[in-house]
């Protein structure tokens, strides 16, 4: 951590079967990425209620990542697809609220894509750092 640098608060909600396993694989392979993201495990991204994400932004999250299996590979047939539709709609709501919709990201990382997980982490952190602190946090101050 560089001294004095702003550290974004980014939360990731990830599915047990693909993305969580992919994140574990990045670990086994010792692929390095920035430590700014905190993960919450759910069984399927289908569990992700848009309200969880709204709550996260209201609490001051600078970015939210939702990551599941690739389409067609969902452990529960199509939970990831249903989640993706919700996230798509939610992005337009966020825009209306003045939150840049790039702060919410949905990705698809399979259990064998440890390297991709690390890339996603790099990219999400980079995107959020470029966007700066969430406007909600600025309002709070």
């Amino acid at each position: 951590m560089a001294e004095g640098e702003w550290q974004p608060k980014i939360i990731a909600i990830i599915c047990n079967w693909c993305s969580y396993a992919g994140a574990d694989l990045a670990g086994s392979a010792r692929t390095q990425y920035p430590p700014d993201i905190r993960a919450i495990r759910v069984m399927c991204t289908g569990r992700v209620d848009p309200l969880f994400i709204m709550k996260a932004f209201a609490d001051g999250a600078d970015g939210v990542l939702v990551s599941g299996c690739h389409f067609g590979d969902c452990h529960y047939i199509a939970g990831n697809f249903k989640c993706a539709k919700r996230m798509f709609l939610l992005k337009s709501v966020l825009k209306d609220l003045g939150i840049d919709d790039h702060r919410l990201r949905m990705t698809f990382v399979s259990a064998s894509e440890g390297a991709k997980w690390a890339m996603v982490m790099e990219d999400v952190v980079k995107t959020v750092k470029e966007l700066g602190p969430s406007p909600i946090n600025q309002l709070k101050q």
Binding site: M1, I11, A26, G27, R38, C44, G46, K55, D59, Y76
Partner: protein, 671 residues
């Protein structure tokens, strides 16, 4: 749902994992921090939490401090959640009052160069886990009975072995094969390394065994159409493809006494349609009504309806046996099984994509599997190796190893195909044995002779006179007049270019997952690796299992392996698949959705979200409410993520629990 309203009392245990965690993360400060968190009564650390003394710490702490929830900050729940759940249970708590913070796989290992960042992340992870642990409840796994039957998909040598093992263990086994016969790739091989057994000689008895085993129901020319259910109770619908020919059993069932196919072949003799035989890679003809080879099991002819002109000559030739029905259509059958083994095998990489080696451009460039058929006594040439261009006997043959394997150019496959070195050595031996004076040249990158008696086999082939040239072949060009081939490479041991004129080139092509296997894989909910091979549950500790409970893997569908390894894995898979069946029941994780009826508006929007049709609307106390059929619910929570009224209570992943985790991270626990 929670009965007791006791203030949560959480114990946090931080694992060093030797230096795996403690080498990066400041465990001492993490533990001290954990002790300050809301509801945390005790925080401790230990070298290896998963060890017996580590688990004893949890068990003792539950008793000493009257804990209601446990957090272990260690590796990943995918590895040790069951371990610590057991310890939690031994301490006298419900095992579902355990939560894990992943501070190794997703922290210390991936932030090795940022100890400060990793330590901060570990503190957050524990805070998040403790917030969830404070809200965990007692849950009770649902026990379901297991159907006393199993299915094996794919009847190559792996599938055959798995089916025989299951059947011999007294389990009714459905063996499903998409081709008209069992045997798979192994039945196309001539000899097997390093013992040089005749492949058919050791395989045929097993093929016959599966054909007549009383516990095996063989379904050839059959594909999996759909899969429903879960471990213990899979309902699998099979599509029995229209074969056009009835077996003797089928004829008897239809009342045709003494009828049905007896494999006499009169039909094929009469058939006027000639097509290339795919079993012989097009090097031999076959009729529209055919069998692959004389040893097929079951010995029943099959009509290739794409080629058949329905002239009816075969029906005439079949005569009184009345085995042939040109109007036959696909039929469907649903069977119920407890466990499934996938053994769907492999295909060869389309080596013509590697243009530089001239396959399909030059007649005398062939693949190793074509070589197997040409050298095989039951093959199209009766075992005489000939040059396809002129039928002459080749006297100089070049073998190109790693043809498309270990290839990062983007055209080939990055992995080692694992058995090509050994079969190419075998091929070299075979030509030297069959054709006196014939000289094999083996172009290799490394010879990977890693198995039992394999290295010795390599020495033997060297001593027999095979010439080894280390270097990847750059190019193969044809002499247009003689049809001889020039092999260009660099001999990297001598450091000089090679231009070798040979009569024939054999490409040891890479292997890849069976074509069109993805729909089958997805029906069973099995993930795949980046290369498309089916993914095992754990590469070391669970190589036969998958992330779908009750579905196991055997053979090359999981990754390239030779016959001994395939058979060994098949036996492992059969053993694993028989355990739930013999136990008679399995416990399902109790992550079922429940309906909070006072909140449910009866809108029914959740019903369309459920992939398993587990939800219905029922009338209760005069209003419509959602009802969950627990046996069908798999706990994905897709209904809960969608319910507009927050009426769905997703056990172990409840909305309050997830929101508490979000708050714990972002608000530092102040809620």
């Amino acid at each position: 749902m929670a009965e007791e309203k006791k203030q949560p009392r959480i114990g946090v245990f931080v694992c060093h994992c030797g230096t795996n965690i403690a080498g990066t993360i400041d465990v001492e400060s993490v533990k001290d921090y954990a002790a300050t968190l809301p509801n945390v009564i005790v925080a401790d650390d230990y070298q290896y939490m998963c060890s017996t003394p580590g688990q004893a710490k949890i068990i003792d702490a539950i008793k000493d401090h009257d804990l209601t929830g446990i957090v272990v900050a260690a590796c990943t729940p995918r590895l040790h959640e069951p371990t610590f759940r057991t310890a939690t249970k031994e301490g006298g708590l419900n095992p579902f009052r355990f939560e894990m913070a992943n501070i190794r796989d997703q922290n210390s290992w991936v932030h090795m160069h940022d100890p400060e960042g990793a330590t901060a992340k570990a503190k957050d992870a524990i805070r998040i886990a403790a917030a969830k642990a404070s809200l965990l409840e007692d849950l009770y796994p649902k026990s379901v009975p297991v159907e006393h039957a199993a299915m094996v998909v794919g009847a190559g040598v792996g599938g055959i072995q798995a089916a025989l093992d299951l059947a011999n263990a007294g389990i009714k086994t459905y063996l499903v094969e998409k081709n008209p016969t069992v045997g798979g790739r192994m039945s196309q091989l001539d000899k097997t390394f390093p013992t040089l057994d005749c492949s058919q000689c050791i395989l045929t008895p097993k093929m016959v065994d599966v054909g007549r085993h009383p516990n095996i129901e063989l379904h050839t020319y059959t594909e999996v159409e759909s899969v429903d259910g879960y471990i213990g109770n899979f309902d699998i619908t099979l599509r029995k493809k229209a074969r056009g020919v009835m077996s003797q059993d089928e004829a008897t069932a239809k009342g045709i006494v003494g009828g049905g196919c007896n494999g006499c072949g009169d039909c094929a003799a009469a058939c006027p349609v000639i097509k290339p035989n795919p079993f012989e890679f097009g090097m031999a003809p076959r009729k529209a009504i055919y069998i692959f080879h004389p040893q097929v099991v079951p010995l029943v002819y099959t009509i290739d309806f794409d080629a058949c002109v329905k002239c009816g000559l075969c029906v005439e030739a079949c005569g009184e046996k009345k085995a042939i029905d040109l109007e036959m259509t696909d039929t469907f059958e649903t069977v119920k099984v407890g466990t499934v083994i996938l053994s769907t095998g492999y295909d060869m990489f389309e080596i013509e994509k590697k243009r530089e080696w001239g396959y399909k451009q030059f007649d005398n460039v062939i693949t190793s599997l074509e070589f197997e058929r040409l050298i095989c006594a039951s093959g199209p040439t009766g075992g005489h190796l000939i040059r396809p261009s002129d039928g002459e006997t080749p006297m100089k043959v070049a073998f190109v190893l790693c043809a498309g394997s270990r290839d990062n150019t983007g055209v080939g496959k990055p992995y080692c195909s694992r058995f090509c070195c050994m079969y190419s050595l075998k091929h070299a031996h075979q030509i030297m044995e069959k054709i006196p004076g014939c000289q094999p040249y083996i172009f290799y990158m490394d010879i990977r002779s890693f198995g039992k008696m394999y290295e010795e086999f390599y020495y033997r082939i060297q001593n027999e006179g095979a010439k080894f040239i280390r270097g990847r072949v750059a190019n193969v060009l044809e002499d247009a007049k003689t049809k001889n081939l020039h092999v260009y490479a660099e001999d990297t041991l001598l450091g000089r270019p090679v231009d070798l004129e040979v009569d024939m080139v054999v490409l040891a092509a890479a292997v890849q997952p069976t074509e069109n296997i993805d729909p089958v894989r997805k029906m069973f909910g099995v993930s795949c690796s980046q290369d498309g091979w089916m993914l095992e549950a754990h590469p070391k500790l669970n190589p036969c299992g998958t992330t779908t409970a009750g579905v196991f893997l055997a053979g090359v569908c999981q990754g390239p392996k030779d016959i001994p390894d395939t058979v060994a894995q098949a036996e492992g898979a059969a053993s694993a698949a028989s355990i739930p069946i013999h136990t008679g029941k399995v416990e399902l994780e109790p992550y079922f959705a429940q309906c909070l009826e006072e909140k449910c508006a009866g809108c029914g929007m959740c019903i369309s979200q459920c992939p398993y049709s587990a939800l219905d609307l029922i009338e209760k106390d005069g209003k419509q409410v959602m009802h969950v059929t627990e046996a069908k619910c798999k706990g994905c929570g897709t209904c809960g993520g969608f319910c507009p009224g927050g009426a769905i209570y997703m056990q172990h992943f409840t909305t309050p629990q997830i929101v508490a985790q979000i708050d714990a991270f972002l608000l530092g626990g102040e809620q």
